[in-house]
Amino acid sequence: MISWDVPIVRWVQWPGIGAAELGFIEPLLRRRLSSLARGALHVANACAQGCPSATFVFASRHGELTRTVELLRSLAHDEELSPTLFSLSVLNAAAGIFSIARGDRAPATAIAAGVESFGYGLLEAHLRARKSPAKPLVYVYADAPAPDPIGPQSGDPQAVFALGLLIQGDASSRLHTAFRPGTMVGTPATLQANACLRALERGSADWTSDRHHWCWNLR
């Protein structure tokens, strides 16, 4: 069993109430954002309000896979590759754009860990926050279903989904996470981040894949 606590100041989900607020990104930079990056940066910015300096951890199972698939299609048809698609096809694309838009040169981390990307991203966020508890840390998880011809995978969201957490030492709410090896082989997984969201809303939730059993409690 591995477990840890993170202090939660606030959390923001996408889709949420109202439209995505991306006015902080200038139009020439904003025009290249995918719907996934738009969701990720909306929650990142909403969490980082009032924090001129913060640590950022991003996590996504598939990242900008839609762009990668488009590039592969071009290659298959012997067409020239789009430089825009190429430059923004990497997992840390959203983190890079966010850093430029904020004028913040602090290092950021981008994590992918399969169907458990949300949970391992949260573990990374906890480890980073523990090193400097006074500094705000923004954890952003964002995913979209894998595009055709790969198609949606077990544990993918049905559409773009993003969840951001602002983690800082003096918060009164603490999110407790625990996971242990699971034995539920062949269990069709749901979206892992949704379980954590349920815990944030209602106090506790758990989630199982064919690898691990995870549970969250808000204290």
């Binding site: 139009p27 020439l28 904003r30 025009r31 290249r32 020239e80 789009s82 430089p83 825009t84 430059s87």
Partner: protein, 92 residues
Amino acid sequence: MDTLEQDIKILIIEVLNLEDISGEDIASDMPLFGEGLGLDSIDALELGIAMKKTYGIELEAGDGRIREHFRNVLSLAALVRHQGKGSLTHTP
């Protein structure tokens, strides 16, 4: 308004996803890069590919005149008239 210039403006807007910009906002002699429309080097490559695809123009990597050709909509239209295989379609 020159039809070819208008087509090139629409191509630029569509290929480069210029949000909230219409053909009227781009003057034919407005610089495309840096001051002016404010496009960057990724846009230059993207636009080069679209111009090849749409108008069949040939661009060689070592050609010193590329910077001149891509100065503004007027110079791109001149390049197409000089070298292009006609206005095929402006669908990117």
